[in-house]
Structures are given as C-alpha cells and as structure tokens.
C-alpha cells in the first residue's frame, strides 16, 4: 500500500511524462517505481490523518519510510509501528555525523566512491543518467526487510543510500585494502585485470555505436581471442600481430601496456567496420565474450528477453496506450511474478483499504471533509 499526502506525493511530477503531458498520473519514473501497489492518501500533519494511518499501519508486517531520521517519533507514530518491521531509507542513515543531512542521488553517489570511479581521466566524475541510488537503496531495503522477517523480533532496518552505493564497485576497495593501490577513473578502460598494471580497452567504436569487448585470458578469453583471429581472417582483416599469437598459452595478466596497445591498435579497425547487430550475431554464434553497448530500443528487441517472456504489457493509467514493463526479476518454479496492476491514482484505494482497516464510508467521508485523506 502506497501512502501519499492528499493530492499525491511530489515525485509524481518528476519528468519525463508519458506523451510529454505533465500530470500526476504520467511521470515515467513514478510509474516505473509504483506498479503492483494499491494507494491511499493521508495527511500526517493532522491528527485525524495520523490516526487513520496508524489504523492501516498497525495491520502491516513491514512499513517502509524515507522521512528524515526521527520524524516518525515526532509524529507519535512509534506505538502504531511497534510490531512492524520498520525499514527506513535515508541518504546517510539514522544516526552518525551525517544523519539528517540532505542529499540527492548525486551527493550520496559522490560520498560512496562510485562517482570517483566513473568518467574520463582529467575530466569531472559523472553519474549514470538514470539515477541509480534509489534503486540500490530500495533493493537493500527489501533485502533487509526479508532478513528481519526471519527473526522473531520486530526491528528497525536502517538503510543508508551512501552505504548502498559503496557496495557497487568492487574490486576498487580490495585494491586499496590488500594492495594499497588507489583506482580512479579510466573512461572506457578496465583496470584490475593485470598483474603488471596494464589497462585494457573495454568499449570500442563500431559502425553504428559502440561494442564492449576486451583482450582476455582464461579458457573463455583465449577461446574468444582464437575466434576473433579466425573471424578477422575470414574478412581479410587479420594483422600479423594477431596472427602471431599462440592463444593456447595466452596470458593477459602479464602483458605490458605497450604490448596491450599494439594488440588493441590491430583490433580497432576491424571492430569499427562492424554494426552492433552484426557483432552481436557473430559473438553469440562463435561463443565469444563481448556484447554491443545496448540502449532501451535494443533491450526491447532482444530475442533472449522475448524468449523468456520478460516484458509485461500494461496500461499505465486510464486513457493511455499500453507500455512494456520489466516482468519479475527471476523465475520461481518456472513462473515469473506478474506485473498485476499499474501504479495507483492518487487515493485510488482509499475506500477499499480504509474499509479493510475498519473505517466505514461515513468515517471516511468525515476524514475527507477535514482534508485528512
């Protein structure tokens, strides 16, 4: 059950909007985050609203909130949440020197080290254009709630978005902790695959975009190299430096940077001649490591996702055309959890949910009259 203030939560007006029409039922980020929920409104600033909320919340096993630390107590809602697992998601956590400090995706990502590692050497660090920390924090909140469900004690799950984003960039912390080496931004290059400090290009220009490919060792990496050489030969693009490699004994971890650079210079023109689609078809056929750099249109056209019936079509709000939503994140006994219902309209389920909590139509009308719902 999604609980919002009367009129809806401000995030309903975060762009972009379906059809570029700005209203509370068309925000794409909001629709994405709220499928499968029912929704009620409730004014926590009024006593009637708080009582109504308490009535609903006291039936819940899990309550998720993202208010500033301490606000639930100030509102006097502790008692109503006594038997619930309370998951609190904030930028920095419920206590400590930064508790209560405001922060958005950009600041918590900065404070996590993730931003430090993303971007080009010499230029400013960059963040993913689709904000990621809300997803990470929400995911860890769900994990925490489910761990807490296994304990007999109702308890607080305190999620820090900063801490959540600190978990997303191995092996960098290990390089510092074990080897005293500070990793930084490397643009399209992969670090941490070499025992002599070489870096390997992992993003390459192709005919219509970019592909992800790297010179690698290990059994599959060697197979990939062997297949690449064969593919280049078939196309008349094999260079002497690639032809000379004995892939059976190839070890990328000991190559010096000049050796890596020479091999990469030999491969670049070949990759530049391929389209993303051509590259994808051939790497799959030859069982090579590598993928095109995909975008939203590629994901929707991916035959693998189609074969697994991943996309679920849903009308996001009344009067709109159906849209493809990602289905459940895994198959459970062969079944993919459904996308059952669109995100709720503002207060769509007030009568239903307050009714379930024992408030009859008269009581609800009274709450509505005083603006509490």
């Amino acid at each position: 059950m999604k609980v919002e203030p009367p009129g809806g939560e401000p995030d309903r007006l975060v762009p972009p909007f379906v059809g570029d029409v700005e209203n509370a039922e068309r925000s794409i980020p909001w629709l994405a985050a709220n499928v499968n929920k029912r929704g009620i409104t409730c004014d926590l600033a009024s006593e009637d609203g708080r009582n109504a909320f308490a009535r609903v919340a006291s039936t819940a096993r899990i309550v998720v909130e993202s208010f500033p630390p301490g606000l639930l107590r100030e509102l006097g809602l502790d008692e109503a949440l006594r038997d619930a697992i309370v998951v609190s998601i904030t930028p920095y956590g419920q206590d400590g020197p930064l508790a209560g400090v405001a922060g958005s995706d950009l600041e918590v990502t900065a404070a996590s080290g993730s931003l430090w590692l993303a971007g080009e050497e010499g230029r400013a660090p960059v963040r993913t254009a689709q904000p990621q920390s809300p997803y990470w924090s929400g995911m860890y909140g769900a994990m925490g709630a489910l761990v807490a469900l296994r304990s007999p004690v109702a308890q607080r799950v305190d999620v820090s978005a900063q801490a959540a984003m600190t978990t997303v960039h191995p092996p960098a912390p290990v390089w510092w902790d074990i080897a005293g080496e500070e990793h930084g931004r490397t643009g399209p290059f992969l670090l941490g695959r070499s025992n002599v400090g070489s870096r390997f290009r992992n993003l390459w220009q192709c005919a219509d975009g970019f592909v992800s490919f790297a010179i690698q060792g290990g059994p599959i990496g060697r197979h990939t190299g062997r297949m690449l050489a064969e593919w280049m030969r078939e196309r008349g693009a094999l260079t002497p430096s690639i032809a000379a490699i004995d892939w059976d004994g190839f070890d990328n971890t000991t190559l010096t940077q000049p050796q890596v650079d020479e091999l990469e210079a030999a491969i670049a023109p070949f990759l530049r001649s391929l389209t993303k689609a051509e590259f994808f078809t051939e790497v799959v056929k030859r069982k090579m490591l590598g993928y095109p750099v995909g975008d939203a249109s590629d994901s929707l056209a991916d035959p693998q996702l189609a074969a697994r019936d991943f996309w679920r079509t849903l009308v996001p709000a009344e009067g709109l055309a159906p849209l493809p939503f990602p289905g459940g994140f895994a198959l459970f006994d062969g079944e993919r959890p459904a996308v059952r219902r669109p995100a709720p309209r503002v207060g769509e389920h007030n009568a239903e949910i307050y009714g379930e909590a024992g408030l009859d139509a008269g009581a609800l009308a009274q709450l509505r009259a005083v603006g509490a719902v």
């Binding site: 400590g96 080009e120 860890y140 489910l146 902790d177 493809p324 198959l331």
Partner: protein, 410 residues
C-alpha cells in the same frame, strides 16, 4: 537513535538467519555474494569448491597479497566471502558428487552460479535434488538465465552491464561512453538473488514447499533501468549520456576544488537552496530551474570559479551550513576513513591466516536487534573439511583419509 531502534535493540538476539544452512557452488561475484549476505546474518554458508577448478576470484583476478598468485592470497575471494566455510570436493570423482548431494540434502538452500546445465550434468540439478528434498530452495544465477537462445553464451558482468544499457547512460554527451568501473550488474543480481532466496524461505515457512529459482543477471539489471525503457516505449526517445545534468535540479554537477583531483558534488532543488547558493558564492542566474538549465555551461563555469580555489571539505561544510545539498567526491581510500561509514561499521577489521589484517564489507543496511556479525574473512581452501565431512556428514577419520587418498577432496 530513534525510539523504534532503541526499543528493539534491548535484547540482543541470535542472527536473524541462525539455523539456516546454505551450500554454495559458484565463482566470482554474482552467486557467492548472495551467500556472503546470508552468512553475515547468521546462516551457516558452506562453499563447496575444488582445487582442480578453483574460483577465478582465487586464481585470476588480482589483487593478491604481496603479488603472490595463490588461492589463499587472493584479495577478492577473502574480501567478499567473509563468514563462510570452505570444503573441497572433486566433482569429477563419483564419490565427490555423492558427498555433495548428501551435503545439499542437509541444507535449506543451494546456490549455484555455473553455466546453465552444468549442475544437471553433475547430477546436482534442481529437479534431481528436489525429487529427494522437495523443501530445498535452489538458486541458479547466471548471465542470461537458464533458457532462451543466449542462455549458453558466455559473458561477464562488465560487458553485460554494457548490453543492458547502463554504459550508454554514463559519460559526457560530447565523448564516448565510459565504464561503470567494474561488473556493476553482477551486484544488482546479488541483491535480487538474496531477495529471491529470502522470499522463497518466507513462502516455505507458510507452505512447506521449496523453490527452484532461475535468476538472469541481465533481467535483474534491467529492473534498474525501467524508466529508460518506458521513455523509449512511450515517447520514442532513447535516453543517453547527459554528463551530470538532471531533469529537475539545476545546477546539478561536480566541480573542481583546490588540489589534485579534488571535487565537490552539489545540487539545487528548491528556490531557497538556489538563493542560498547565490548568496554563498556570489553567482547569478535565472530564477527558475528551466532557465538555469538553458544556461548550464555558463552557470557551471561560474560555480567552478568559486569552488576551484577552495578546499573541498571546507566548501562542502559551507554549502551544507547554507542549506545546499553537497558532498565531497570521496576517493576509494577515503572510504575507509569516512566518519559516517565508520560510524555504521562499514568495514569490519578481520585477520586472514595468509593475508593478515584486512577489512571486509558490511551490508549497507543495519538491523537494530539482530545486527550483522563479521568476524572471519573468506576461508582458505578446504579450511572446514573436517567440520563439513566429519561433523555434518559424520564420516570417520579413517573414511576421510581414504577419500583424501583417492583424490575426492581435491
């Protein structure tokens, strides 16, 4: 601490997952980190591995302590497998497979992250295991799922992050995309893997039924990109790289401070925040966010004119005091000394028999009554063979010696 936390922290309880037994076979991050989180909250997690086909985190991925490439010097393994036990089995030996089956038969959860079909070929597929133990929960985590035309295509996290669309969204619009540093999508799949196992445990508690979970790391990652999919499907636009621009906040960026590679991140979401920023650094600009977005380059330059002569942490303190959202861009080494992360116990200190003193990583959420406990780094190879084969499976010393001699524990 709030009242909620105070109330619940009174009687320290056993780990929330105490009594749960997990057997795990897999490599690198995407499968094994699921077991790490379960172990952190009290589950007994047994890593089954083989000296003959060791985890790439033990053999291939640096760093290694003192540069010695050996399984027990491997930093990645030690750091991200904390709290587990290790037992060795040669699954090419029929007795090895039989012992693995016996052990899984005594577990609640089996996690594996091999190429699809591998465990079935060994006689350890979910159908076989659950025919004997219907209450068992089996998580299979792999690149693209157990079925479909690309199920058998090899891949790893950095490149899968590119396929899924993350890389396309990272970088400056005037340049090439850049990497998210490492195998980003693997860690998304770790989170969903743990959630899937815990959800299946909840269902089992209600129904008694086990579960076979097929987790595609690709599909897990796409969940984090849902708005970009909807934006294309609804409006025909493909979201791409935007530097540090935001659809709502302006300014919203990362600015150079005094010193080498020192940066501050700041963002302005409301009128009062904008007025506070103007007053603090003496800049001017359009009164609305839309207006400021239109003059973004000039505005960013003006802000950097103010930040670049200042010390980073001083700038952050002044911005925060003025009511503007700001944070230092912390380097990785700084994370280990960050007061807020330290307060939360993000990096528990442990001692590894071969590596020596090191840290491990705490879960990013804290439980008030049954907090995570992290006292042991990732185990050395076969460190718990006696416990697993002797205590749990009840094999006598003599039986174990015979099996050792026959190469079953390799």
């Amino acid at each position: 601490m709030t009242d909620v936390a105070m109330r619940a922290s009174a009687p320290p309880a056993a780990g929330a997952l105490a009594g749960l037994r997990v057997v795990e076979m897999g490599f690198a991050a995407a499968g094994p980190l699921v077991g790490k989180y379960l172990a952190n909250f009290g589950a007994e997690v047994i890593r089954l591995e083989s000296r003959l086909a060791a985890d790439v985190f033990r053999t291939t991925y640096p760093p290694f302590k003192d540069g010695v490439v050996a399984p027990d010097h491997a930093g990645m393994f030690a750091f991200y497998n904390d709290g587990k036990r290790s037992a060795t089995l040669n699954l090419k030996h029929p007795k090895g497979v039989a012992l693995a089956r016996a052990l899984i038969g005594q577990a609640d959860v089996f996690v594996e992250s091999f190429t699809p079909g591998t465990v079935a070929r060994l006689g350890l597929g979910p159908e076989t295991l659950r025919a004997e133990h219907p209450e068992l929960i089996v998580l299979s985590s792999c690149n693209q799922g157990q079925t479909g035309p690309h199920a058998f295509h090899p891949g790893y996290g950095s490149q899968l992050s590119a396929l899924a669309g993350f890389v396309q969204l990272l970088g400056e619009p005037d340049s090439t995309p850049v990497l998210l540093y490492g195998p980003y999508i693997d860690y998304v799949a770790v989170g969903y893997g743990a959630i899937a196992v815990l959800a299946a445990l909840e269902r089992r508690a209600r129904t008694g039924a086990g579960c076979t979970i097929d987790l595609s790391q690709y599909e897990a990652g796409l969940q984090f990109l849902t708005p970009t999919i909807l934006e294309f499907a609804a409006n025909g636009r493909i979201p791409g790289r935007a530097g540090n621009a935001d659809a709502v906040a302006a300014p919203h960026g990362v600015y150079r401070c005094a010193g080498a590679d020192r940066w501050v991140a700041l963002s302005v979401w409301t009128d009062p925040e904008w007025q506070a920023l103007c007053a603090l650094c003496g800049i001017r600009g359009a009164p609305t966010a839309a207006g400021r977005r239109a003059e973004r380059a000039a505005l960013d330059q003006a802000i950097e004119g103010w930040t670049r002569s200042g010390e980073r942490d001083d700038i952050v303190a002044r911005l925060r005091a003025a009511g503007v959202r700001a944070a230092p861009v912390l380097s990785i080494s700084e994370l280990f000394g960050d007061p807020q992360l330290a307060h939360r116990g993000m990096w528990p200190a442990v001692t590894h028999p071969a590596i020596g003193p090191m840290h491990v990583m705490a879960p990013p959420f804290r439980l008030s009554a049954t907090p995570s406990v992290q006292e042991r780094p990732g185990p050395t190879v076969g460190a718990d063979n006696d416990h697993v084969f002797g205590t749990i499976l009840g094999l006598s010393l003599e039986e174990r010696r015979t099996l050792q001699r026959d190469g079953v524990f390799e």
